[in-house]
Symmetry: C2
Subunit: 421 residues, 2 copies
């Protein structure tokens, strides 16, 4: 494939080669230089707030048919810009994940072997409407020593460009190459495809957005991908659940925010406790505005609930709707989760430690919780400071992807002239 045949791929290649060279410089940069870049970027972002807001208003004005939810994700405010700037400063406070000696041992022949954390290299970040993803992703990549190419949604182009200008100012102030953080040089849709095919140029793709975007990326990418396509999370209220705790956890897990990937989409309630507890849980959630899709056993106990189809149990609602199934025991709960779940996050509520252990060990999910809300599954709540996404694949990283997960490792082997027999 050459530049004449595919100019968009040529643009990607140029950007990725500049990113590779910049990543080599960044990987050698000591922590204070990276932190300076982040703090100076925060300062530049605050100083540029009027310009960023103007760019964002232009983006919003250019897309008049937006839904209210889409407009909410796209729109920036002074408070959101300040939150982005603070986010950059918070990443500066986090420890440097690169260069850590992950383990070290000495072989009988005297060779000392060290496993050392190292930046992955060049990250391709593909996201949709939320412009703040640009700042978060740039900060985490910069701190972990990775170069990043940001490709935001077409609706947020001017907003992302304005945020990127602040990142570039921070890099310049710290004497780091601006190519450490780049935005896609074209709005051409083919650029995403070029990123996905860029094996050898881009080391990792991280998509952030709706299931359609993420699924497309997972299906087409020739480059490794860290992501989750959906978070079809379950809360299982076990026979030995504390009723008050179950009510508090389920209300939070379902209704605190319904649009996040860690929101519970399905309640599994044990048959042993459903007659007494399900009506209370339904009343709690209904009072918060939740609707229901319930299986036959649940509808016997709560006759007013709409009937659930199989497809409902396979649906990530991302809304005030809860699927409800009555199950008998931990194995049945696990079987339901294996059949319908997305290996993201599931919780059990129980006072029975043996049941909790059986449930947690039987899960294939990235995150299993005992007596806590499924909405705790993100990087901030894990203490990572920030996350670039949440992964449900089985290689490299599972669950929240923070600074540590943006590193790979290499080995250094220290000898004194050893040769192999």
């Amino acid at each position: 494939m050459n530049a004449i045949a595919d100019p968009v791929a040529a643009l990607l290649e140029t950007a990725a080669q500049a990113a590779r060279a910049a990543a080599a410089d960044l990987a050698r940069a000591p922590r204070p230089v990276k932190d300076l870049a982040l703090r100076e970027a925060a300062r530049a972002l605050r100083a540029a707030a009027p310009a960023v807001l103007a760019a964002n208003e232009a983006d919003v004005a250019a897309a008049p048919g937006l839904s209210a939810a889409f407009r909410d994700r796209l729109a920036l405010t002074p408070a959101r810009i300040e939150a982005m700037a603070r986010g950059l400063e918070e990443v500066a406070e986090l420890p440097d994940p690169a260069g850590r000696v992950l383990s070290e041992w000495t072989r009988p022949n005297g060779l000392v072997i060290r496993r050392i954390a190292q930046p992955i290299g060049v990250i391709g970040m593909i996201f949709e409407s939320r412009p703040n993803v640009a700042a978060d992703a740039a900060a985490l990549c910069l701190k972990s020593g990775n170069a990043v190419i940001l490709r935001g949604g077409r609706e947020s182009l001017q907003s992302v460009a304005a945020i990127h200008a602040a990142m570039a100012a921070g890099l310049r102030a710290a004497g780091l190459p601006e190519a450490c953080v780049q935005v896609a040089p074209t709005a051409d849709r083919g650029f995403v495809g070029a990123m996905l095919r860029a094996a050898g140029l881009i080391d990792l793709i991280i998509p952030r957005g709706g299931k359609g975007l993420v699924t497309r990326v997972m299906e087409e990418a020739r480059v490794p991908v860290l992501a989750h396509a959906e978070g079809l999370c379950h809360t299982y209220v076990h026979a030995a659940a504390d009723p008050a705790m179950a009510r508090a956890i389920l209300a939070n897990a379902k209704m605190r925010r319904t649009g996040v990937c860690g929101a519970t989409e399905t309640l599994l309630i044990d048959a042993a406790v459903a007659p007494s507890l399900l009506p209370l849980l339904v009343a709690d959630l209904a009072a918060l505005g939740c609707d229901f899709r319930a299986d036959a056993a649940a509808r016997v106990l709560c006759p007013g609930l709409p009937a659930a189809t199989e497809a409902d149990f396979a649906t990530e609602w991302l809304d005030g709707i809860l699927s409800v199934a009555v199950v008998e025991g931990v194995p049945a709960a696990l079987a339901h989760i294996r059949r319908f779940g997305s290996e993201h996050t599931e919780a059990i509520v129980t006072e029975d430690a043996a049941a909790a252990t059986e449930f947690l060990n039987g899960l294939d999910s990235a995150v299993g919780l005992w007596n806590a809300s499924t909405q705790f599954c993100d990087g901030g709540e894990f203490g990572f400071g920030a996350e670039i996404g949440i992964a449900t694949g089985r290689l490299h990283a599972r669950g929240p992807v923070g600074l540590e997960q943006l590193c790979t490792y290499r080995y250094h082997v220290i000898g004194s002239g050893q040769v192999r027999p």
Copy 2:
């Protein structure tokens, strides 16, 4: 795609689903059960040695046009069968990598977060002529709690089937599902393609074989791959090298075994020391039967050497041939390695710690050695006991892939009713 349209894909789907169910049982099996299966498999393999040898003779006889090297890889002997059996027992002695608590911390809200090692799931092993790969891969997958589907070369079908029978006997003796270790149910070439496309059915593909096989797998796979396509390894003899150490290391790194991926293919010798040392290095290696491809500066010092082309520096010889280039300083050595290397394994020979650090930190390779032979890069030498391959990608694992690297992780979060504010 349905069974009528693609019967080979249907066979793969059936095998992979059986593997998935078996992996769930295996993941729950305690260590003594897995170790019993390995020891009983070793016993069965020893008892079946005559049958394995007969099957292997039939394989060799069925492919009369084999090269001597190919025949050597394919042919089994009583000693090789004993080595396989001992290998199974050695894996039984290794610690169980699954279930380890990799880290644990407590959040300010009281949530206890544990990161726990977990088997990856279903591994697809695609290999060429060496039948012992079947036993090694089966043992490592079994011990780490992964199910495996083995697809060996067409020339080794009967040998692999005979080895597999011993593994199945071990699994039966331990009460584990035989589907934990399967061989491809068809010799149809399309089965490899079906494995590579089996996203969701197979979690990880590990190819072992020549560059052609591995490159095809990397290019076509829709499933994550751990592998290296080539090991174009460099030894850099620095200006401050101890001459005697440099001679011993280079002779070992190049000539101990020339066909292994950790063999040095290119000597980079510093201009400061080349006039005195290069003639000695060349004489040593020539006495061991090595041939050379040398750049202009090296040929000034050793006029008899054949000239190297650019393509020679990009060639993994896997034979008694050494490319030679004279470089000036660590940055020039690193630049040569970045241009021509495969990010596998490189060594520096020097008494200068600052130069060694500069070299090791500047490498992008999975393994960097200081004052030791590049042939130390495999799992046995790292103390992993055994390896299923060596990886040069940037995700999940780099360098030798042993039991630990055959695990992913998940999180268990232990609460006491926490809800998210």
